[in-house]
Every structure is written in structure tokens, then in C-alpha cells.
Symmetry: C2
Subunit: 283 residues, 2 copies
């Protein structure tokens, strides 16, 4: 963290506290711990800081504004900063110093969703009807689906969504397939992972807030629904379930990757084709 002063038009300005990143850039992410300042003082310190960073050959600048410091954002925009991303409690803005094209990484680009295929011992599929969304009021049955949260594993999300929507406890088995689509959520793209889970309980308890109905349904009844027949996923589910019954489909299953990675992000999961693992390859 560097604290220093530079002179601009004869006046000394404290530089903003910043740390260097691994890409010849700087990060200002402790604004809430500096002495309170108004937009004009902040603007002057920002201009002085940019001069200093430029002199040092820095490239990208990241500034994190907590919700409470929204009054400083306009000053940053005046200096040429743009929005990079935002979370409920803060706004991240960026500025690219060099003349060369900006190589700052883009904002998170995708959301990830899961669909859960859960069969009971009678070969019935666990299905729900949702209270909102495009299928609301249609009476059509679908498999439980939901968002994978930031920082959540795909398999944990599948287990959580099934539990939340139907009350059924499950264990994760495999990822059958995934689908990529675009403009799924504003301009964001989406990866949808279709998972197979094994039920550990069988008494359906639907969630009141978002679920209209939940039950076990025969695959024949599921496949006979008009929507399932005319929808890519409904058809895929039926075909893949049949293929799986014939044992001619190899799914992706997660294995914990070797933890000798030089990055320290905790456990990482690698998804591999099941047959490769079963054939004794060592990963």
C-alpha cells in the first residue's frame, strides 16, 4: 500500500491508497477506510494519482466504491472511469491508462443453472410446477431447476435445489450434458447442466414460495406432455434416460483435482468422462 503526495498546480495532493496487481495495474479498494472526503477533494486526489500511476508505467486502474460512497462516483466518471461490475454493496470502476487497447478482463459473463433428474425405485421422475415464469399456470410438469450460486459447486446446487423445491434428499451422481445459450439474463450467457441425482428420501414436501405442485411422475406421462415433446430439453431428458437405461451413455463425473496447483483457491473439481476413470487412468 503506498501513501504519498504529489504536487499539481502548486498544491500537494495525497495520493489514493493503492496496491499493485499482477498485471501492471493498481487497485484502490480501501476507500471506506480513508478519511472522509467530498467529490472535489476526491477528484483532485484521483487526478494526482493517475499522473503518478502513469509515470510509473501502470496500465489498468480498479476502484471499488462501497454503497455509502456513491457521492464520489460522478467524479470518477468525469476522469474517464467506466463501470466494470457491481454487487449489492459495492460498485467497481476501471480506467485504462496506456494508449494501447485495453486488456482488462471483462465482467462475469455467464450465469450457470442446473436441472435435476431424480428417479425413484419405481422409475418415476421427480417433477414440479412453478408459481412464476413462462410456464406459470400451464399445468405442465418440469424437472427441478435453479441457479448455481457464486462460490457454489454444480453438484451442491443440484442437491440444494431439489431439497428446496421438493423436500427430497439426494446424492449427486453425474452430469448428463450441458447446454450453452446467450442473452439468457439481460446480455449474459448461460450454461445449463443437466444432472442425475439418486433420492435418499421419497416423501415430497413442496416449497410454498415458488412451487405450485411437486410429485413423482412416470417417464411416459412426462414425455407425453405437449411441452416436453416440443422442447429441446424435455426431449433430451427422455432420450438420455432411455440411453442410460441401456448403459450406452458415459457421463461426466466430478473428481477432485490434484491440489498441487500453484494457485491457492482451495479444492478444484475437474469433470471427466466416467469411462476414462473406470478404465484406471490416474488423475
Amino acid at each position: 500500500m503506498s501513501f504519498s503526495k504529489v504536487f499539481e498546480n502548486g498544491f500537494a495532493h495525497d495520493l489514493l491508497p493503492s496496491t499493485d496487481d499482477q498485471h501492471e495495474g493498481v487497485i484502490v479498494d480501501n476507500l471506506e477506510f480513508t478519511a472522509p472526503m467530498g467529490p472535489e477533494v476526491f477528484g483532485a486526489r484521483l487526478r494526482a494519482s493517475i499522473s503518478e500511476w502513469k509515470r510509473k508505467g501502470k496500465k489498468g486502474v480498479w476502484i471499488k466504491f462501497p454503497l455509502g460512497l456513491v457521492n464520489l462516483v460522478e467524479s470518477a466518471i468525469k476522469e474517464g472511469f467506466v463501470y466494470h461490475h457491481a454487487e449489492p454493496s459495492y460498485l467497481m470502476m476501471t480506467y485504462w491508462i496506456p494508449e494501447s487497447p485495453c486488456t482488462l478482463p471483462a465482467n462475469a459473463s455467464h450465469r450457470v443453472r442446473i436441472g435435476a433428474i431424480v428417479f425413484n425405485d419405481k422409475g418415476e421422475l421427480l417433477v414440479v410446477q412453478e408459481k412464476s415464469g413462462i410456464l406459470r399456470g400451464t399445468g405442465l410438469w418440469k424437472i427441478p431447476t435453479g441457479m448455481v450460486d457464486e462460490d457454489e459447486d454444480i453438484e451442491a446446487a443440484a442437491i440444494r435445489e431439489v431439497k428446496e423445491e421438493t423436500g427430497i434428499d439426494t446424492e449427486f451422481k453425474e452430469i448428463l450434458l450441458f447446454r450453452q445459450s446467450h442473452k439468457a439474463f439481460f446480455d449474459k450467457s448461460e450454461l445449463f447442466f443437466l444432472c442425475i441425482l439418486r433420492p435418499l428420501s421419497f416423501d415430497v414436501q413442496k416449497q410454498e414460495l415458488e412451487i405450485e405442485a411437486a410429485q413423482w411422475l412416470s417417464l411416459e406421462e412426462f414425455a407425453a406432455q405437449p411441452y416436453a415433446q416440443h422442447n429441446d430439453l424435455g426431449e433430451c431428458i427422455t432420450n438420455l434416460c432411455l440411453a442410460r437405461a441401456n448403459h450406452d451413455y458415459s457421463q461426466f463425473i466430478p473428481v477432485v483435482a490434484p491440489t498441487r496447483s500453484i494457485s491457492d483457491r482451495g479444492l478444484q473439481y475437474v469433470y471427466l468422462n466416467a469411462k476414462t476413470l473406470l478404465s484406471g487412468q490416474s488423475f
Copy 2:
């Protein structure tokens, strides 16, 4: 779009222009086309609008602030709005009206990256050294990697990154595996897809901006690097390449999903295990 007035403290306030969404919420995304207003007028109109939305039983409220209307953001925060997401040119804020828990979908949660495995006819691997990042200056060779852009297909991203970093034209073959990790980029999670591509040209022309060096390297030399031996991905690449040479690994390949989906998001790709397709299942 609804335009109307309500009375608050005896004064008529124009409501903000809004459209309904499919989840009993409203979206205000045309603020730049309404008559200019200061923070106080905006705050009054926002309060009046929230009262009206509440009366109608609305739940989630979305307001999009273009970069030029940052002066109104503080008023929204005062009314209880929080940041939802931001792109370079705008900030999206949300507010949840009911007493029940907020069910608004979260911001995009993941970034998606690719790694590209490209072998030439001599069985040599296409490798690069990067000018920045944690491997800078180590002299270690790695496969080309890069971000999948919003709205970009995984296979298109792999082809683009190989071309950008090495000048080599390729065609996409398969996804070998994918890896999920967390806290990869600020608090965002990451899915990393390891892809195989076939080269259509062989003359390496490295990119000046981000690449230190690029060349074809034997798999033996690649695998013998200290980093490759102690890194999950380097090891995976070597093992999978060997497994693939023995034809006992089935990869995921993209097929265009049936376009009869009731959503209208254009073509959607589904990734399936190759053997299922080859065995004549119809999708």
C-alpha cells in the same frame, strides 16, 4: 409502458415509466428518454412509483441508470435500492417490495475460460509464454488460454484465442474436460473448458501485446517442465492426450439443439458425449 400520476402529500407526481416483467416485477429502463430531472424530483417520483407498485402487488423493481445519470443513483440508495450489476455504460439497481424473502435472480456468477490443445502432424503441441500474470518471466510453456466473451460460444472462443495468440487457424473438435473453481476473479467462480482443435495452418505468428513467445513443442518436452508436473492441468493434459491416443476417451461435442424451444434465444448448443451420438441416438 405506463405513464400516470399519483398524489403524495397533496402534490401530483409523475410515475416513472415502467414495464412489467414475467415475475410480477417492474423494470424502469428508459430513464435516459424521460425529461431531465434532478435527484430530488427523481426521488419524489421514485417514492410515488414504489407506492403505486406496492398497491398493485408488484414484487421486484429493476432500475437501469446509464453512465450519464449517475447523479440519480444516490436518491435510489436513499429509498433502499442496492446495486445488482453493472456494465461499462450502465448500472442496474434493484428493490424488493414484499415482506417475504427476496427471490430476484443474482448477478452473473461465473466467468468461463478455455484452454486449447492443438497438435500438428508431427504430434507437437502448440504452446505460448505470456507477458503478464503469474507465469511471467518463468520461461514455462503453456497451452493458449483465454476468456469466453459474453454472447460467445465456447468453440468460437477457443478458435479465436488460438488465432489471436499464435496466428494459427484451427477447427474445433471436442471439449475434453471442464474444471470448476471459485474466487477465480474477485468473488466470481470460473468454469474452465479444455478443448481440442485441429490446426488448419502451421506457421506460428505470435501476438505482440500479450505473448512473449509461441511455438510447437513435443509432448515429452511439455510434460517434462517442472510446472506441468506439479500442476493439475498440465498433468491432466498429458494424461488425456495419452488416453485419447488409445481411443478410450469419449469427449463432449456440440450439437445444435432442436430449435423448437418456446424461448426465442436463437440457436442453442447442447454438449453430449460423442459415443451417444455415434451410436445413433436421435437428439
